[in-house]
């Protein structure tokens, strides 16, 4: 049975001006909307930044959040990304107190998850994994027994999934050849 997701990602294109993030986060606080995760970065156009907000859709309607966000003068465009229609990624970095006896099993696990060792100390390792949020959760759980001394995860970034079917024109070309 399909469980309807409790979150959704809003990809918000905003003017690259000071105070815009405060306007967005202030609006969420003021209207009692919940933010699960937040990622902010410049977009491909220097006039704009992109804010990726993962919101809890169990408590508030996406429609109302989107409409209120759009009232902010500096918000230029909002794309709603439903989890089933989006590619979502997060980045995790963790420092593990893995001594020499545990090191090889950590390295093995990182290998299984296709993560990387990004820093090595005499009795600690820093590992990194980029991937789907669920996969990061699993990784974090499996790393925990080795003793996580520090952990950071980024906000979530997302892009719409591409159409599986090739565009019609390309398909025709394929047939001809």
């Amino acid at each position: 049975m399909a469980v309807s997701p409790t979150h959704q990602t809003l990809s918000v294109l905003v003017e690259n001006r000071s105070g815009v993030l405060a306007r967005v986060s202030g609006l969420f606080a003021r209207r009692g909307f919940n933010i699960i995760s937040l990622a902010v970065a410049p977009s491909d156009d220097e006039r704009f930044s992109r804010i990726n907000i993962v919101i809890d859709v169990e408590e508030t309607s996406v429609e109302q959040i989107t409409k209120q966000l759009f009232k902010l003068v500096n918000v230029v465009k909002i794309t709603e990304l439903h989890p089933s229609e989006a590619v979502e990624r997060e980045l995790l970095m963790a420092t593990l107190a893995a001594g020499s006896d545990q090191r090889s099993s950590v390295i093995e696990l990182v290998g299984v998850f296709e993560g990387r060792i990004v820093d090595v100390g005499p009795d600690a390792l820093t590992v990194m994994l980029a991937g789907e949020p669920d996969r990061l959760d699993d990784f974090e759980e499996l790393m925990r027994p080795y003793g996580i001394t520090e952990l950071q995860r980024t906000g979530r970034v997302a892009l719409p999934k591409l159409d599986r079917q090739a565009p019609p024109r390309l398909r025709l070309t394929g047939k001809a050849s």
Binding site: V14, E15, S18, G19, A22, R23, G26, L27, R30, R47, S61, E63, Q64, K67, Q68, F70, K71, L72, V73, N74, V75, V76, K77
Partner: protein, 578 residues
């Protein structure tokens, strides 16, 4: 042309056709007060910055043009927060200019520094801290554009002192410059044709429709369009507290004010209707009562320029984003050629309620204090044509809205959404400045009056002859009413005393003519005397009965079906709250 930032600021205001600025100077805004001396713009020196904000609102309410308030940084800016929030809640176009400490000092807790844009972010439509002196003209153009288009509201510009002192080359931005500077701002004005058609269908077919007209009618200057819609279809109209005057009270289709203290017919017609045509209104809790039982059988056509209002409280069957005037005109056009359903039964039910439950209050008993409703009726009946009525917040506000007869738009000014006590005196001054040709009466409570009365000094010294009627019942009357009805008459911190202060002496000390009225026979002659005084403000201290309550009333949190009518009106149509 070279000039200072301050000169550019004042010149930009002139370019925006600003005639008057309400304000009070101080350290950081000082540079802007020098070019004001050479400008045709009239500056009105207030006694408290809150007054400047409410004056700007009053001015905007009656003229439709944005009111402008200019004050300094820190405490002056924080004093402006209440009017900004008030204007935000009631969608009043307003531009506020605040001084700020010089750029190098920002963030160091300088003298009279506060984070004005941070503090006012949630109570303005938009705000900006101007860090580049060359941007002053563009920021001013943006501010006026944002304040007056789409859903109107307050916009604040925070200007550091050294930005005002800097030298710039004057450049007034073109329409294209303006549009390019606001890439995310494009209000939708025209309704979706499919939705308009669907609205027309629902309207034609409904048997028990009510037009639910809100303040958006006034903001979009749609009173004419509304009247055409009502008359073409014969559909009755309720006007919310913010829309009083948007449809004439003496019109046969007018049902008056709905809501917590609305009249029985307006409230009940909405409850029993099968279609609410909600125009420029936001289903405020004071109108809906308990939302889940509000107009339970009604379908909803909801027209608003703010998309976020559609579905915020009640899901509309036909949502239409657009400017009320344009959309109503389009709906009227779409109705052409459509027959209207038979509504004879609906009309007769409505007139039945009107006959059975008119507004009512007990007659005056000799020896008692004045009935506040009687004072309102006399003020109304003595008012010169076109009088603008302004009110504070509380019982007197409800009586003013209930007992006045509004016949034209922009003659009612009040604080609806925020419910700001102390609104009326400064708002009346702003209204009189905007419409000097009109008589302006402020109806105020004694509690409200004490909050902002000092602005009568402004009115006296600037020769702005407003009139103030204090319904002095020596109580915070609305709170007293709730304590009587819902807290077993346990009166807590609501008594104010009728004589302390002595309102007549106080008003006279502020340069006003002042009268006290205690008996019904004096009411009319003193009002007429007040109406004849035109060289200074007038204050009348009406001693009113503190036991009077506002009826009808829907207790907070109750359904509108539980409307409580005046005790003397026979039960049967209403239910009495347990």
């Amino acid at each position: 042309m070279k000039m200072t930032g301050a000169q550019a600021l004042i010149k930009s205001l002139e370019m925006e056709q600003v005639e008057v600025v309400f304000g009070l100077p101080g350290g950081c805004i000082l540079p802007a007060y020098d070019p004001i001396l050479d400008s045709p713009i009239r500056h009105i020196l207030v006694r408290h910055e809150q007054g400047a904000g409410h004056m700007a609102e009053g001015y905007a309410h009656v003229t439709g043009r944005p009111g402008v308030a200019m004050v300094t940084s820190g405490p002056a800016a924080t004093n402006l927060v209440t009017p900004l929030c008030d204007a935000y809640m009631d969608s009043v176009p307003m531009v506020a200019i605040t001084g700020q400490v010089s750029r190098p000092v920002i963030g160091t807790d300088g003298f009279q520094e506060c984070d004005t844009v941070g503090i006012t972010r949630s109570v303005t439509k938009h705000n900006e801290l101007i860090m580049d002196p060359d941007e002053i003209p563009l920021m001013v153009r943006q501010a006026f554009h944002l304040a007056t288009t789409g859903r109107p509201g307050p916009v604040l510009l925070d200007v550091p002192k050294d930005v005002l002192q800097a030298d710039i080359t004057w450049h007034w931005p073109s329409d294209e410059d303006l549009a390019a500077s606001l890439p995310g701002y494009k209000p939708t004005l025209k309704g979706h044709p499919k939705m308009i058609k669907e609205a027309a269908r629902l309207i034609s077919e409904s048997r028990r429709p009510v037009i639910y007209a809100g303040g958006g009618i006034l903001r979009s200057r749609a009173a004419g369009a509304l009247r055409e819609l009502a008359e073409r279809t014969g559909i009755p109209v309720v006007t919310t507290l913010m829309a009083r005057g948007a449809f004439p009270d003496d019109h046969p289709l007018c049902l008056g004010m709905p809501g917590m203290h609305g009249n029985y017919t307006a409230v009940t017609a909405m409850q029993k209707s099968d279609l609410l045509i909600a125009l420029g209104t936001r289903f405020d809790d004071r109108v809906t009562g308990k939302v889940t039982s509000f107009a339970p059988e009604a379908k909803v056509v909801h027209v608003d320029i703010d998309p976020a209002e559609l579905g915020k409280i009640r899901r509309p069957d036909v949502p239409i984003v657009g400017d009320c005037r344009q959309v109503i005109t389009e709906i009227v056009r779409a109705l052409e050629g459509r027959d209207q359903a038979d509504r004879e039964e609906w009309r007769s039910r409505i007139s039945g309620w009107q006959e059975r439950f008119p507004l009512y209050y007990d007659p005056h008993v000799p020896g008692d204090a004045l009935k506040p409703q009687y004072v309102m009726e006399q003020l109304r009946d003595c008012a010169p044509e076109g009088t603008i009525l302004v009110s504070g917040v509380g019982q007197h506000q409800m009586w003013a809205s209930q007992y006045w007869r509004f016949t034209e738009p922009y003659t009612w000014v009040n604080s609806g959404g925020l419910g700001t006590m102390g609104f009326s005196v400064p708002a009346a001054i702003g209204a009189k400045v905007g419409r000097p040709d009109r008589t302006v009466w402020a109806v105020d409570g004694d509690g409200c009056f004490q909050m902002t009365a000092q602005e009568l000094v402004t009115a006296a010294s600037e020769r702005i002859p407003v009139k103030v009627a204090i319904l002095n019942n020596a109580y915070l009357g609305m709170v007293r009413q709730w304590q009587e009805m819902f807290y077993e008459e346990r009166y807590s911190e609501v008594y104010l005393s009728p004589d302390l202060p002595d309102y007549v002496k106080w008003a006279e000390a502020m340069g006003c003519a002042a009268f006290r009225v205690e008996s019904p026979e004096e009411v009319q002659p003193v009002i007429e005397k007040a109406n004849s005084i035109d060289d200074r403000p007038v204050v009348i201290d009406f001693r009113t009965d503190s036991r009077e309550k506002v009826f009808p009333m829907v207790p907070a949190g109750f359904s509108n079906d539980d409307l409580v009518v005046h005790p003397s009106q026979k039960p049967g149509g209403e239910r009495v709250v347990q």
